[in-house]
Amino acid sequence: MNFLTPQIVQTALEVGLIYGLVALSLFISFSILDICDLSTDGCYTLGCAVGAVVTIAGHPVLALFASVAAGICSGYVTALLQTKFGVQSILAGIIVNTGLYTINLAVMGFSSNLPIFGTDTVFTLVKGISKAAWWQEWSSLVFLALLLMLIVLFIKWFLGTRLGLSIRATGDSPAMVRASSINPQFTVTVGLCFANAMTGLAGSLIGQYNKTSDINLGTGMVTIALASLIIGETISRKSGNMLWRISCVILGSCLYRFIISIALRLKVPTEAFKLVSAVIVAIACAAPAAKDQIALQRKKAAAMREHRKMSEEEAK
């Protein structure tokens, strides 16, 4: 009966919201700019490492901003490689990702993990606002939900500005951009910096949430975020207004965490998690095509019946 306890739902939502930031990051780079940014894994760890170091120094709020700045730097390098130096976008991401491994280690003082204890995090700060029992329990979720809501509204606003429209056009129609006065190098750079800023922020939040930073934290993050993004885009069907589309990305991320929670409850061994993730991504990606296939088969079967009837009538 206690298959999904409120505790599990709460954790899934909280982590889902944090991962939702990475999914939003891929929404900008992958869906809007049509660039596959593979530096996500490293950038996420970078955000976590930078955030952890600053948090340990006693500035948990500043840590969030520091991680955003670190993410922007990482995104800028990725963008620089592909715009100014003509490196293919996938390759640029891989190069930056590889380089970030060493940088992340260096940030953490050349140790592979960095526990955060004996100091406040943004979550303990928020929790301390009120002594009420419900607040003690739900403060993190409320904080994250508010933060995400702000970010979603910001993205919605940003994509409606002239710069945002230019970024969307860059990913949607390269030929059109060439014929209009948009500098694709600039829009790609802004887009990637923005996307990686969110990845960095997510890293910072997860570090403070788990009270630890680990060098392997980001491994496979791009798959997880992509899974969330695709689940979200399948829900919104890539249509409707922007606000709905963006919200669905976060919804997709939370759904993804639910599926993982269920897998956890079903006692799937932790070693198998990456495989579960991969299967979920594959299913989410294949779902629309599979649905079409089934619809086509049904239509075919119906048509065949009708054709048979037609030819029988013709024979009479």
């Binding site: 056009a169 030929a175 059109m176 014929a179 500098n183």
Partner: protein
């Protein structure tokens, strides 16, 4: 207005695929000129357009627009004053963005101040877009929130024309922009082009494979072959020309008989 001086461009230099695309090409257009360009495939028409628009930098030569040397000005800066339409109606617009958003992106050329990047499309601009769309007589003004991907090829090309001219360009490059449309739509888009170009006195270059069109439209006819302009007619000489004369010139100019079915087929009256 537009001056091309000794333009040269070689693709894949030093390889077996070496192709001299522009060969010492010179051309001068006066303010308000509307020149049609004919020439067989590979004559360098599109390459010349790409050179003018800045898709690549030329190997040699100078491009001057309105008294300004633009030879090494990047493409996105040039596009502030050069409008461009491609043959493929799908190329000029962003399919997943709405009609309004597409026009807003095109209208970016009008903004001069840098901090404008964070501003939104104003009510006044929306009104302007609506007004302009109404001129197309395609009912697009009532579908401004629809994604462009839902429009037909003709509607998209008409929209692209509007986007290229929403801020009046100094120069308009039309690369066979009606070739992929059905005859009725092509005529409509062409009429619109004529109207806009005439009303705003835009200097215009238009590639066509339709010989009668090449003589009827505008005030100049150019013929290209082997990466240069081999023949140019204007004024009285052009008025007296028939399609057959032009075809003969074509044979002389390119040094070979016409081998392009499309040109032969489209020499009939109409489109």
């Amino acid at each position: 207005m537009l001056r091309l001086l000794h333009l040269s461009k070689v693709f894949n230099r030093g390889t077996v695929n070496e192709k001299v695309a522009l060969d010492d090409l010179s051309l001068e257009l006066k303010d308000g000129d509307f020149a049609t360009i004919v020439g067989s495939n590979g004559a360098g028409k599109s390459t010349m357009f790409n050179a003018i628009a800045g898709s690549f930098f030329v190997d040699r030569g100078m491009i001057e627009l309105d008294g300004q040397d633009i030879t090494f000005i990047p493409e996105h800066v040039r596009s502030r004053f050069i409008g461009r339409l491609f043959q493929d109606p799908l190329m000029g617009t962003a399919p997943h963005m709405t009609i309004e958003e597409n026009l807003a992106v095109a209208y970016l050329r009008a903004s001069t101040r840098r901090h404008d990047v964070f501003s939104r499309v104003t009510k006044k601009e929306k009104g302007l877009f609506r007004e302009q769309l109404a001129l197309l007589h395609m009912g697009l003004e009532d579908r401004m929130k629809n994604p462009v991907g839902l429009l037909s090829g003709g509607q998209r090309q008409a929209l692209t024309l509007l986007m290229a001219t929403v801020v009046t360009p100094k120069l308009l490059l039309l690369d066979e922009h009606t070739a992929a449309l059905d005859p009725a739509t092509a005529e409509k888009v062409l009429d619109l082009t004529k109207k806009i170009v005439k009303e705003r006195n835009i200097t215009c270059l238009m590639v066509t494979h339709n010989m009668s069109q090449a003589l009827e439209l505008g005030n100049r006819t150019l013929m290209m072959s082997g990466g240069r302009v081999v023949f140019s007619a204007e004024g009285e000489e052009r008025e007296g020309m028939t399609v057959d004369d032009l075809l003969e010139k074509f044979t002389q100019g390119s040094g070979s008989a016409l081998d392009n079915d499309r040109i032969l087929l489209s020499t009939e009256q109409g489109i």
